[in-house]
Point group: C2
DNA sequence: CATTGCAATGTTCGCGGTAACATCCAGATC
DNA sequence: GATCTGGATGTTACCGCGAACATTGCAATG
């Protein structure tokens, strides 16, 4: 049962223990090729007794097949990417592919490093967040010769396939809804977003629609780090102190929106009449607040699923290798904090 | 720049492009051994121009060295494990080790499968949540011959090293604090926990201390799935309808605790006098609620860091391989919802 | 009973690197 | 000038497995 001498086990050990060739053991363990039931049973017994675990490193080298899919995302801590991962996992579980995650912390340097690291394991595909990469990263992706799916965002030029929503459009859509709701003095709160291109695009779409209607953002506030709920409270207070006339607050994510909502309720604001508010991302983590925050669903689960499907399809041999572009439609949810038109 | 014919690049390609042997290229790319500056520059230029990415599969096979650390945890979606991951990453970033995550969904079968899968990549170490594993899993861990750190929980017998808190003690500690606060009619809410051994142990420690003081849990309620915030509200309402006399509510996690808190505030309860409440896990995600929930810090970040440190130390050659046991002390935080003694 | 057919099993070679050792050569040393 | 030295580079032999092909043996066939 135990491997006390501590020489790592190999196929040879199993082969000797069961009295067949290494090749036959290999066939049994991979369920490939014809093996008699008797032999199969014998081999499985020996393998189990020894506690043998096949060496995928050797296997992958010999077969030049790796069942890994690299997933490169900025962070795991903000609820949006875990949900994307769930979607990816749901699909890949039905195949023999396996996701491996790399984190970029929203920096290009790290993205490049992580990508290099991942590609050095010769995965079968790459799913990577965003369309903005360094030239080197883009070159690596292209040179890798494997299917690449860029996710989250469709506003730009993909290397290969892309699945996401248009954040520009999401911003526009929210702006229109706010205007239709009759709001005119609008405050904006978001992260300081040097590298959050998606937040930037939403903001651009948002302000453009407002501009066309002759409305300007009256006040804005940015934060980074700390508890988002607390920051939402603080920024909301700060904004309203600067301009008590504001009748709408647009938050770049639901968490700060929730903080703002709590603060407004405590201070007796009449929502959504005296003041309306909306966030972004449809975190169902937040269902159960005193009021339901207006928000926009970024289709995260679906994005993960679609991206994984593209990879899974492409990996089959003889599969169509042409790039796919999927633009999902972000759905607005009015909740209790945005007047309906 | 591009590899259009699509034969994957190898060391040989770089070696031919730069006019030196493959071995020299290998040395340059790994920064190992003596190579003249001129040669180094030449090789790096060729590698970059070709867009060559070393093949770690081949490298690992040849050197039998893999810079991966398997991290096996139940889930990524409940805020506790992401924080552990952060701790692990913080430490491993200073080394050349890299974490690779596998998810078990709180089931033993999946744990066993994921472990097998991970071990087949011959990682340099394993960090795995909990002390309860199938016999097969335990056997694999032992047979692997690599450092293993079980995390989160210290109430049990580890395979090798262990870093965590005593959940039994955490439950006891909270029970004592509640009793000292003068509460006597206590309700409990948690997940249906067939496989959440840590929640179970907390519950056991909790009830035992109460029992010694002659106090019994008056009401209890369990949930699974859905939005924790909503569930917290619903369960709280249900419990108080069944027994309006309850003067304390203990929640097995902060999220449902937050839901309960919001419900109680909306219904005009006087907290913490008429009724007190406490959760578990110290999610700073939740800082910013109208009241700060009493809770207990499970030392998640620190657990991740310590576990990673153990692996990092052991991986060095000539390192002390003896098992380590680290029991961290969970700290109670009274917040605004638990009367101080 | 020799021949065929096919399932079951074995053999050879190479995947793309690296460890370990071998070689080469310019400058230092006597 | 012969010898030594050590940095720079090359050669050889694997690492553990799987693809492709080779072989074996036994039942079916004429």
């Amino acid at each position: 049962m135990s491997n006390s001498d501590h020489r790592p086990l190999t196929l040879r050990d199993v082969s000797e223990a069961s009295g067949v060739s290494e090749m036959t053991v290999s066939r049994v363990l991979r369920n490939r090729g014809d093996v008699s039931d008797a032999t199969r049973a014998k081999v499985l017994a020996s393998a189990k007794e020894l506690g043998y675990v096949p060496n995928k490193i050797a296997g992958a080298l010999a077969s030049s097949r790796v069942n890994l899919v690299a997933v490169i995302i900025p962070s795991m801590s903000n609820m949006v990417f875990p949900e994307v991962m769930t979607g990816i996992t749901q699909i890949l579980e039905e195949t023999d592919l396996q996701p491996v995650v790399g984190l970029t912390d929203y920096t290009r340097e790290k993205e490049e490093k992580v990508l290099y690291e991942m590609l050095s394991w010769r995965p079968s595909g790459v799913i990577i967040a965003g369309l903005e990469h360094s030239d080197a990263a883009r070159a690596m992706l292209r040179a890798s010769g494997i299917p690449v799916v860029e996710i989250m965002d469709v506003d730009g030029t993909p290397v290969d396939s892309v699945v996401g929503i248009s954040h520009r459009r999401a911003g526009e859509k929210m702006a229109k809804a706010i205007l239709k709701g009759g709001y005119r003095k609008i405050g904006f709160m978001g992260t300081t977003m040097p590298r959050d291109h998606r937040a930037r695009k939403r903001f651009e779409g948002f302000t453009e629609v407002l501009a066309k209607a002759g409305v300007e953002i009256a006040e804005r506030e940015f934060y980074s780090g700390g508890s988002a709920l607390v920051k939402g409270r603080e920024m909301t207070q700060a904004l309203l102190e600067r301009d008590p006339e504001l009748d709408f607050l647009y938050y770049s994510n639901d968490m700060i929106g929730a903080g703002g909502l709590l603060w407004l309720l405590e201070h007796g604001y009449d929502i959504p009449n005296q003041i309306g508010l909306a966030g972004f991302n449809g975190l169902n983590l937040l269902k159960g607040l005193p009021r339901e925050l207006a928000t926009m669903d970024a289709c995260r689960l679906e994005i993960g699923r679609r991206a994984a499907e593209i990879i899974a399809n492409r990996v089959q041999d003889g599969a169509d290798q042409s790039p796919v572009r999927i633009a999902l439609e972000p759905m607005i949810s009015y909740g209790d904090t945005l007047r309906r038109p």
